[in-house]
């Protein structure tokens, strides 16, 4: 009798999703899918609102990366009021970037210490009662404390700029509404009340060193688990092709490093992307038009960004990038588990950039806003922690939003995550007489590497228990496990 395995919801990710694996009579995998079962419809209900409300409203998409949505929308709304990213005042650019680096820093720290490290420290098939952040805190207290304080530091930076750690407001059309005071920045520099930015840099290096040690003893796992060829997409600095998180041009490569999207300006994104839909998930599948559905999909996020960039402007992170690239002899890395390592390089990059910005007197300036000539359309693209985030708005003469298109990071990663699920199904579950909890967790380990934010991707509210159900071919439940 053929069977269908269901993992619902997938755990230790942001939001709710489920996985189904179909097995035939011999427990051979016949199909595997990653479904996103949430729906909220932000693109629709934002229509009719005044354009200046967009950066405030859309950040409610998510409690983990509200800053990313706030800034992407702000960049788009800047264009509505006639301001290109380079036209912002220098202080406004730097204050926004400080906010963005704080956001990426805290989000990456949260993911590594809270969601991913239990799998790495204890093993994907270890006791699930221990395989969580509480287990990490009990067995690796110093690591846990650093993780907590790194996350806190990023959150405090967000609070500094946006007023609140979650759902704060910083931007105004054409700028920001608040400067940083000298006293406020001292809080992050002197180490009296919280560990200083220099400590954040030191700890970021220590965590990368941990990852390198892990690599030595677990190389085969990192090299092989959920490895598959893919495209890689992200922003790069328009002048030198370096890693860029706030504003750049779109670049993509195929799995061998051949350029498939050649430094395209943000305003032209619509000429290059299509999104397909499938009946079994609310999440769309973006792809590059000229390559088609089968070959045009791309990974986004830390691994993609490190793959496509030509350098990093901060010295310590650049040194780490070079070490990372040496593993693949300078070529493209298609090994999914290296995403964790790439993420930690970005943690260090963000820490270095925050130090640069905190020590820059421009953030103390009151020169905060610019005005230009009103337009009817605005496009904002940034690199959110999880990858390329696109906000696109059209407005009418009465300042009302008439159209909104959001392509969020996790949406880009939809096909890559499905590929990851299929890899685990084929390589771990296939043909096994008994499917264990540890095997099922490996499906989640593959998905977790992408740090998917399912709330962002489709946007849901609600509560679900962890439930894993086993179905026969007629749809009858023959086994259920609950968390």
């Amino acid at each position: 009798m053929s069977k269908k395995l269901v993992i619902d919801p997938v755990t230790r990710v942001e939001g709710h999703g489920k996985v189904t694996v179909h097995l035939d009579d011999n427990n051979k995998v016949t199909d595997a899918k990653f479904h996103i079962v949430e729906f909220r419809g932000f693109e629709r209900f934002i229509q009719g609102h005044p354009y200046w409300e967009a950066p405030v409203m859309v950040q409610r998409l998510c409690g983990i990366c509200p800053v990313s949505h706030h800034l992407a929308a702000a960049k788009a709304i800047d264009q509505i009021v006639g301001i290109e990213p380079e036209d912002l005042s220098v202080p406004a650019q730097k204050i926004r970037k400080l906010l963005h680096f704080g956001q990426v820093f805290q989000s990456h720290a949260l993911h590594f210490f809270y969601l991913a490290s239990p799998d790495l420290l204890f093993g994907a098939e270890s006791d699930p009662l221990k395989r969580n952040v509480v287990g990490v805190a009990m067995e690796y207290p110093e690591l846990a404390k650093k993780g907590i304080l790194m996350r806190k530091f990023g959150q405090e930076i967000i609070k500094l700029v946006a007023g609140k750690r979650i759902h704060g407001i910083s931007t105004t059309p054409g700028g920001v509404h608040k400067r940083v005071s000298a006293k406020e920045r001292t809080y992050f520099l002197d180490g009296k009340d919280i560990p200083s930015i220099d400590t954040m840099i030191k700890w970021s290096i220590e965590i990368i060193d941990f990852m390198k040690s892990y690599h030595i003893t677990n190389k085969e796992f990192l090299d092989t688990f959920a490895k598959y060829p893919s495209g890689h997409l992200g922003l790069v600095n328009k002048k030198n092709g370096f890693l860029e998180l706030y504003d750049g041009v779109l670049r993509a490569t195929d799995s061998d490093g051949n350029i498939t999207l050649n430094d395209v300006p943000n305003d032209d994104y619509n000429q290059y992307f299509y999104e397909s839909v499938k009946r079994w998930t609310y999440l769309k599948f973006p792809y590059l038009k000229h390559l088609g559905k089968e070959k045009g999909w791309n990974r986004v996020g830390p691994l993609a960004r490190i793959n496509i960039c030509e350098g990093i402007e901060t010295p310590l992170a650049e040194r780490e990038r070079l070490d990372f690239k040496a593993i693949t002899n300078g070529g493209i890395n298609n090994m999914t588990m290296y995403t964790h390592w790439a993420r930690l390089i970005e943690v260090l990059y963000c820490a270095e950039m925050m130090k640069n910005l905190l020590e820059d007197d421009d953030i103390l300036s009151n020169d905060l806003t610019r005005k230009g000539e009103r337009r009817k359309e605005g496009i904002g693209i940034i690199e959110a922690p999880r990858g390329t985030l696109i906000h696109h708005y059209e407005v009418d003469d009465k300042d009302r939003i008439t159209r909104c298109n959001l392509i969020v990071s996790t949406t880009h990663n939809n096909e890559p995550m499905n590929q990851a699920v299929r890899w685990v199904a084929d390589n771990v579950l296939d043909g096994k007489p008994k499917i264990t909890e540890g095997m099922l967790n490996q499906v989640e380990v593959a998905i977790r590497a992408y740090d998917p934010c399912l709330s962002c991707a489709t946007h849901a509210l609600g509560q679900m228990p962890l439930e894993i159900s086993l179905y026969d071919s007629l749809g009858n439940i023959i086994d259920v496990r609950r968390n």
């Binding site: 919801p9 755990t11 230790r12 990710v13 942001e14 409690g63 983990i64 949260l110 809270y114 969601l115 969580n132 952040v133 509480v134 805190a137 009990m138 207290p141 846990a144 404390k145 993780g147 907590i148 304080l149 996350r151 806190k152 959150q155 979650i166 759902h167 509210l461 228990p465 962890l466 968390n483």
Partner: protein
């Protein structure tokens, strides 16, 4: 200089009775209770374990669906290593456990649970929840600062 007591209100005023935790904090501020810090939370975060380690006493205030005879309860919070399936589900007991395990300051901890009834996307408490909030506020007003 921090105070010795922190009160963490958990919830969302955009979800009707889920706003009980925040509204109780508003009450504390309006009444001018001395010696306490307050923090508004949509949900508890792991770094709250570090935050509460700086205090002698912590009170978690949240709406609850439990059926409570008096409309609210105020009880000791015991540390627990139970862990939910996502980062959106951190319980006060888990935060206290993490504090005890990582920082070992062991603040006295309490949970104020106030019964709520409606949780839709809407501002404003239900009539029943408002009555329960009033009871909780009256209780704390009568026993004074030391109770908080």
């Amino acid at each position: 200089m921090k105070n010795k007591t922190i009160v963490l209100g958990i919830g969302n005023i955009g979800r009707q009775d889920d706003g009980l935790g925040w509204l109780f904090l508003d009450f504390l501020k309006e009444e001018g209770f001395k010696g306490i810090d307050v923090e508004y939370r949509y949900q508890l975060q792991i770094e709250d374990a570090e935050l509460i380690s700086h205090y002698d006493k912590v009170v978690f205030v949240d709406a609850t669906i439990e059926n409570i005879k008096d409309g609210f309860y105020y009880r000791i919070c015991e540390p627990s290593d139970k862990f939910g399936f996502s980062s959106h589900e951190l319980e006060p007991e888990t935060i206290l456990f993490l504090e005890n395990d990582l920082y070992n300051k062991n603040p006295k901890a309490f949970i104020l649970g106030i019964q709520g009834y409606k949780w839709n996307l809407k501002m404003g408490l239900s009539k029943e929840a408002k009555a329960n909030l009033d009871k909780a506020e009256k209780f704390f007003s009568s026993v004074g600062t030391s109770s908080v």
